[in-house]
């Protein structure tokens, strides 16, 4: 096996493994009508299953989707020459 094909094999395996455990989009429980999951230690009363973190903000999943979409629609900030990652 050449070095190039070995790298490709590892990358493909990693992608397959990742897609196997990643939950499908939209798998979040609905906000209303769903039974409250039993809280874990130190989580009593937290609504963690209904809110998510976005850049430190505590928001609803739909807020995060909207904020991400808004951010993607803005022109990217120029931080240096293209491809200049070190």
């Amino acid at each position: 096996m050449t070095r190039r094909s070995f790298v490709g094999t590892v990358a493909a395996a990693a992608a397959a493994w990742t897609s196997a455990w990643r939950p499908a989009r939209g798998a979040m429980p609905p906000v209303s009508g769903a039974p409250e999951p039993a809280p874990g230690p130190g989580e009593a009363g937290l609504t963690a299953w209904r809110v998510v973190d976005y850049r430190g903000w505590i928001v609803r999943p739909e807020d995060r989707e909207r904020l991400r979409a808004d951010a993607a629609a803005r022109p990217a900030r120029q931080v240096g020459a293209a491809g200049a990652l070190q």
Partner: protein, 467 residues
């Protein structure tokens, strides 16, 4: 009247000697006089002076260091009232109950709350400020903080010194106490800048009240006798232990529609809105007390997109403001003062302060901010940006020095009893936040004054009389 000399003949005239001249002292003095003759001994001058500031210098280690404790220890007439920010709020019943793993206070909350009215009058605030936290909505309590021009005792110097039955002496530092029997204080060792330390006798019928601040009270009780052995007043071995602050940090930035926050009670005056979680959430999550005040606007250009989004979602008017946590620090015997061999010019041994926040202290801030933030979000009132790094790396104190001579039911667990009398001593009493067994999440000034009012009325019945 202002005295210019303090000697054996002078001190013999009084029923009560009060050491210190701040908020822990004057309510005691005013309750005692004119029925009892009172001498107030202030270690500093009318205004702050480098010579007396030098007496407050400590070694400081832990999260609160680099002059933190020294800078909040004011050796001048009026003490810390000259630096106080003017925030007033009472403790709540849960702060005294000991149910968070901390010791319960040895007095019922109603016994303390009854004195808040007296304290509010002393601090020139409306009675409505003394109301406990009110249930607001789903798991949240609303407890506004009274914020108005602070009362500065130094500006009332002439009026206070003219109080009938009261005399004041300045620039006299009480270094340590003496007692041949260890049942009553029989003398004070005092010193002044131009004099050698001298011993002044006390009768057992004369009441001595130490109101020297969170460090000063403990420092006096920790001074070793010249002949060695246990310091007078520290037979419990607990003086200096359980040093506490109120952890302060801007724990979140919050986009909030202030119009949807509840108004303060009628007649409250200027209020800072503040939120807490209710008892159910607090105990289920093993949290300490934590009050989150909605403060002034913050400038955060990196949050412009989120602010614009929530402005649209919540409707006008919304602001991006700081959420300031005033939180509780759990009492720990490891957070303590130690006596050093080195002495100040007064002859008093200097202090080393060591005080660190625990993971529970900091987790309380993070989790309370999160719980409040989630509920504001779900109610469509606000959204928070949790400042994790600030909470866990930048939390500081608020200048509140508490716990070093805690009150309790026995000498095995505390320095003084519910009447603020040092265990075992008939005539030695402590006033100030040093007696707090726990600090709650309330600025301490109102409770300091309330306890001082209570102590003064209690002593009025006994000072100058045979037990």
């Amino acid at each position: 009247m202002l005295l210019h000399q303090l000697d054996e003949a002078v001190i013999a005239r009084y029923d009560a000697i009060v050491v210190g001249s701040s908020f822990a002292a004057w309510p005691v003095v005013q309750a005692l006089a004119p029925a009892r003759r009172v001498l107030v001994i202030e270690g500093g001058d009318r205004t702050e002076h480098e010579m007396f500031r030098e007496l407050t210098l400590n070694d400081e280690y832990g999260h609160l260091a680099d002059g933190h404790w020294s800078s909040h220890w004011i050796r001048a007439f009026g003490g810390t009232s000259s630096r106080w920010s003017g925030v007033v709020t009472p403790l709540d019943a849960r702060d005294l109950d000991g149910s968070s793993g901390a010791p319960a206070w040895p007095l019922a909350f109603d016994d303390l709350a009854a004195w808040y009215r007296c304290a509010l009058e002393f601090l020139e605030r409306p009675a409505a400020v003394g109301q406990p936290a009110q249930r607001w909505r789903d798991g949240l309590l609303f407890k506004p903080l009274s914020h108005a021009a602070p009362r500065r005792l130094a500006t009332a110097f002439d009026r206070l010194v003219a109080t009938p039955g009261v005399d004041l002496v300045l620039r006299e530092t009480v270094v340590r106490l003496t007692s041949a029997t260890r049942r009553a204080i029989d003398g004070l060792v005092v010193t002044a800048p131009t004099q050698q330390p001298r011993w002044l006798p006390l009768r057992s019928t004369q009441v001595l009240v130490l109101a020297c601040g969170g460090l000063g009270n403990a420092q006096i009780l920790m001074q070793p006798p010249p002949q060695g052995g246990v310091a007078i007043g520290n037979e419990s071995g607990l003086a200096g232990r359980y040093l506490m602050e109120h952890p302060h940090v801007v724990s979140a930035h919050v986009v909030v529609n202030r119009a949807r926050l509840p108004p303060p009670p009628d007649g409250f005056g200027n209020a800072l809105p503040a939120l807490m979680v209710d008892d159910e959430l607090r105990y289920a999550n093993d949290l300490l007390g934590c009050s989150l005040a909605i403060e002034g606007p913050v400038d955060a250009p990196d949050a412009a997109a989120e602010v614009a989004y929530f402005r649209e979602r919540f409707g006008q008017p919304v602001d991006l403001v700081a959420m300031l946590s005033r939180s509780e620090q759990e009492p720990s015997a490891a957070n303590a003062l130690e006596i050093l061999p080195e002495r100040a010019w007064s002859g008093a041994h200097r202090l080393r302060a060591r005080c660190s926040f625990s993971s529970r202290d900091l987790r309380t801030i993070e989790l309370t901010t999160r719980l409040v933030g989630e509920r504001l979000l779900m109610a469509g009132i606000g959204a928070v940006r949790l400042r994790n790094t600030a909470i866990y790396r930048e939390t500081m104190g608020g200048g509140h020095t508490m716990g070093t001579t805690r009150m309790g039911s026995s000498r095995g667990t505390s320095v003084c009893d519910a009447d603020q009398r040092v265990h075992g001593y008939a005539n030695l009493f402590l006033s100030g936040s040093s007696v707090f067994p726990t600090g709650g999440a309330a600025n301490p000034t109102l409770t300091i004054v309330a306890l001082a009012c209570r102590l003064g009325v209690h002593l009025r019945a006994t000072a100058g009389r045979q037990p």
